[in-house]
Assembly symmetry: C2
Homo-oligomer: 235 residues x 2
């Protein structure tokens, strides 16, 4: 589905920025690890993930920075404690590292990236994960060679969707804001990108919704293959 005008549809973004967790990597297996740490309560996964996202912004809003994995571990401790499960910081960090760094790519991802590359696009991974975390994630998923650049918010100092972080990403790639497109499966991420002046495509993976109060993305599709089919028609 294309939400925008013919004119915009035909204009090609100079750089495609891909969110990583959920957009490129399949988080299904993460459920097992997190669920096991929460005494089998896999229904708490969404609450844990949202708590991690919330506290990442709490940290940035307070002018602080902590690695995403440490925030994820703290969120796990908090959600666990509310369910009468005590997890030490050390154990929580082990669980998170194990859970987040061993994820496969979604099945259509490699083919889609290959096709976009062949069409001449510059492809950038753009993630809340730390540099080290992202490196390991890509190594384990066999994705390292599919991207021209890897950018972690660790180097910008603020988590997505802080406007500054998208501005930083564009600057790092030497392009203007309107020449960037974010491709992401999170409503908050495409909202932040659009509000920062980027273009955006929303990948409506299961369990993901757009933020109803944000501007609409020009592309909404269920996977990266379908997003790619539209992007290769841009000139």
């Amino acid at each position: 589905m294309i939400n925008n005008s013919e004119t915009l549809k035909q204009r090609r973004p100079k750089v495609l920025f891909f969110d990583v967790n959920e957009t490129v990597l399949d988080l299904t297996q993460m459920k097992k690890h997190i669920g096991a740490a929460l005494a089998g309560k896999e229904e708490l996964l969404s609450l844990w993930f949202t708590t991690m996202l919330h506290y990442s912004l709490v940290t940035s809003a307070s002018g602080q920075y902590k690695p995403f994995g440490h925030i994820g571990a703290a969120a796990l401790q908090m959600v666990a404690a509310n369910n009468d499960i005590i997890i030490s910081e050390e154990d929580a960090r082990k669980v998170i590292t194990q859970a987040m760094q061993n994820l496969p790519a979604h099945p259509e991802v490699k083919e889609a990236l290959t096709q976009l590359k062949k069409a001449g696009y510059t492809l950038v991974a753009f993630t809340n994960s730390s540099n080290e975390g992202l490196k390991n994630q890509f190594k384990n998923a066999g994705l390292t060679d599919y991207f021209d650049e890897r950018l972690s918010v660790e180097d910008s100092g603020k988590f997505k969707p802080f406007t500054n972080t998208y501005v930083w990403g564009a600057h790092k790639m030497g392009v203007q804001l309107e020449e960037c497109m974010l491709i992401a499966a999170h409503g908050w991420d495409v909202a932040g990108a659009l509000w920062a002046g980027w273009r955006a495509a929303f990948v409506s993976r299961p369990g993901q919704q757009i933020f109803p109060l944000a501007p609409k993305t020009e592309i909404v599709e269920t996977d990266l293959k379908k997003v790619t089919e539209i992007l290769v028609t841009y000139t």
Copy 2:
């Protein structure tokens, strides 16, 4: 429990700022309204509340402002959609208004506030709710006359825990940052206050946890009566 030194313990904050939702108002009844909108799935309440908090910061991080109730309604639509329930924006806003503006004070609140006032403290309500929302909440809970001032983040432009918002609150009351104390039942709120240079007391109500990566508050107690018992010993 007092976490801090004797010296600090004896120094009285010039202004006590109270978080409102959960800290002062009892959210138990909210579960019924939200649960009803989610086809009886009351277990989704925490996810909805955390999604609302996350998206409040998404909005502020993007340099935007939307009323807290509208963000709460959008979060309700998103959580509902992920559970195959479609709610219109209009209906979601009605549910949220009904759910959030008709909450009673926790049982010990009025006595605690009376005691603090009698002890000479200046009491300020300091909330993410809008001015209009807060006014209605206090009217319906019979709390209007217990506070010297009502401050809504609506007038600062950014939700708690953005540092600027605590700085704005101190400025509004004509005091220095270190002369302020936040009393709140949310880990993210006391974290933000401490990182902004305020003092803080955490009210550990059921289902609430401190953020393990933040500095510790000088007071941790289970309700406002117990917090008050400590504060009246300060000189």
